[in-house]
Amino acid sequence: MKQMRQETLRRIISLVLLIVLTVVFTLTTDTFLSWDNITSMLREAAFIGLIAIGVTTCIITGGNNLSGGLAVGMCCMIFAHLYHYTAMSLIAIVLLSLLGGLLSGLFNGFVVAILQVPDFVATLSTGMIFQGITYVLAVRNQYGSITSEMIKNPTMAALGGRLPNGIYYVTIVWLILTVVMQIFLKKTKMGTYIYAMGANRKSAEYSGISFIKVKMVAFTIAGFMSFVAAMFTLGRNGTCDVNTGTALNLQAISAAVIGGAAFSGGRGDMIGTLIGVLFMQVLRNGVLKFNMTTAQQSIISGTIIVLMLVFDAYYNEFMQKRTTRAAALAREKENAGK
């Protein structure tokens, strides 16, 4: 008798709840399942989703990443700064922003893997550093005050656009990257190493896998995702301010955990995170639809997450009990048959 794996269970539960929420919102409001609303939801989901890809990768290695959103702000600001103060070509600016994103990842990797600072503290601190760099790079007016800079570049503006059928480019890129990362995690050597490092670091190291390399790769992937999110943020808003991206991280972490990732490492994948992101987005968007005060919105959406967590835990426990019981009874039967 095989036990069902915990993350599979959690994924099924969140998927079921996602469907239930969707049905409830569709029945109770008239605009929820409109094409406009769907594309709009998918667009919002994409920004969280891009960060969540990076966060999930880091969580699978047994770590965490609290700096992903702040790295988005930093990449945006590198772009805005260079755009405003230099005459570089767009390509060069984009490449330097990319470099910023990748370096943010490598720096995280350095602090976590080489300085051995626990992920939580490390990325909390590097997040502060990224925020600081964002402040330093911020565009200023004649009084020296920080202003946000409009980037009137048609190429960048196009990034914020959508296909004729209404789906935004950012959604497509997010979905593509989700699939790519899923393949990366499941089908490549490095992907396997990422799981191995998270689930059993000792064993992975005995197999000749470098902790430093795995952490570096995971954080660099997160840095890259921050860069991608940054470019689309610029495309969408045509600008950035010093607080860009600060709120993305907690949502991304929540989405990853709801999708089955565990802080202890080795669990979770992109499909789970995709479900988690959609769940969070549907919940948030759906709750907006009722005529509720902001207080009620907070209470309802928070309570639904709590209920889901409790249900998930209760169901898990129940299933575990049932499987052990079933196993015991099966053993009994097998013996009786002899």
């Binding site: 600072v117 955990v257 802080f263 959406s301 928070g302």
Partner: protein
């Protein structure tokens, strides 16, 4: 260094914890950089005052972290309690019995919130990080309901004015409240059965349960303490501000957690101490105060804070064998020898 010096407990403590070392180095640096202003009585009081709220919250949240959990709701509890206290006094008046009722309701809300969290987290295997993230949102929803999103002013309440404005020996009352909370947490953790049980359940819940430790009750009480401390901080905050707002104390939980973790309390539970957690808060408080005194432009402050935290923690980690930095250190010392 002679052995007698080396064995001095104070010296030992300093050498043993890079955080104290970093703190001392920073203190000396800031003292020199500010020509002594940093080390003035007045400024030290300022530092104490600036960490007092966080300090009170740490005295609660620390219990959750020692049990391998996390409590992000300290801020929500603070906001809710502050709002309830202010609202009750606004509606009932500032008479003694009304204030007592207000405080009872405010702290009661914190205890109730802690009770609910404790019940859920002791019963179910749920990631506390995610749960308290969600419930904090719920708590702030309730704060909005209580305050209707307006500022609630508290005028003429003697007790709250006293807490907010009176100083003993030049030290504001919130500092004494924080010290009392630290003492409380220290005694609980170090001298009571409950404290022993916290460390034991944090280290190995199963074995503790089989030894007759009521693990669920231990977890439940931890979150109740955390809720109470959060609520107390909220009451102090409202006293300091003489008002309550729907967004007060927001994001304080991040500072609280940062301080606890920087203080070296393991997030896996079972190891760390309240002294170290408070030390973490002081490390962060001293950095902020020192930079304010030096007139460091605000844009560099975050960066400096991040770097100093990394350095402090990395130095600690470098003392553990097997890490790359430790290997480097050993290799260097070998070469030198």
């Amino acid at each position: 260094m002679s052995n007698s010096v080396k064995n001095n407990p104070v010296v030992k403590a300093i050498l043993g914890s890079s955080r104290i070392l970093v703190l001392l180095i920073l203190a000396v640096f800031f003292t020199i950089a500010t020509k002594g202003t940093f080390f003035s009585y007045k400024n030290l009081v300022n530092i104490l005052y600036s960490v007092s709220l966080i300090g009170i919250m740490i005295c609660g949240a620390c219990f959750a972290v020692l049990l391998g959990g996390i409590d992000r709701t300290v801020s929500g509890n603070a906001a809710l309690s502050g709002a309830i206290v202010a609202m009750t006094i606004l509606n009932k008046g500032v008479g003694g019995s009304n204030v007592a009722l207000a405080i009872f309701l405010g702290l009661g809300a914190g205890v109730l919130s802690g009770l609910i969290h404790g019940l859920i987290l002791s019963r179910f295997n749920i990631p506390a990080f995610l749960l308290t993230l969600a419930t904090n949102e719920v708590l702030y929803g309730f704060v909005q309901l209580v305050t209707s999103n307006t500022l609630i002013y508290v005028n003429g309440c003697t007790l709250m004015d006293y807490i907010g404005q009176v100083r003993w020996l030049g030290i504001p009352i919130p500092v004494y409240i924080m010290l009392a909370c630290i003492l409380f947490a220290y005694i609980i953790l170090n001298h009571t059965v409950y404290g022993r049980q916290v460390y034991s359940v944090g280290g190995n819940r199963q074995s503790s349960e089989l030894s007759g430790v009521p693990a669920r009750k231990v977890i439940l009480i931890a979150y109740i303490i955390s809720g109470f401390m959060g609520a107390l901080a909220g009451f102090v905050l409202s006293s300091m501000n003489q008002q309550a707002s729907a967004g007060q104390a927001k994001n304080y939980e991040n500072n609280v957690l940062a301080a606890i973790v920087v203080g070296g309390v393991s997030m896996r539970g079972g190891s760390g101490s309240i002294q170290n957690a408070i030390l973490g808060a002081f490390l962060i408080g001293v950095i902020e105060n020192g930079m304010n005194l030096m007139g460091v432009p605000s844009i560099y402050k975050d960066m400096a804070k991040g770097i100093i935290i990394i350095v402090a923690v990395a130095m600690d980690m470098a003392n553990q064998p097997g890490t790359p930095l430790n290997n480097l250190k050993r290799r260097l010392s070998k070469k030198a020898a």
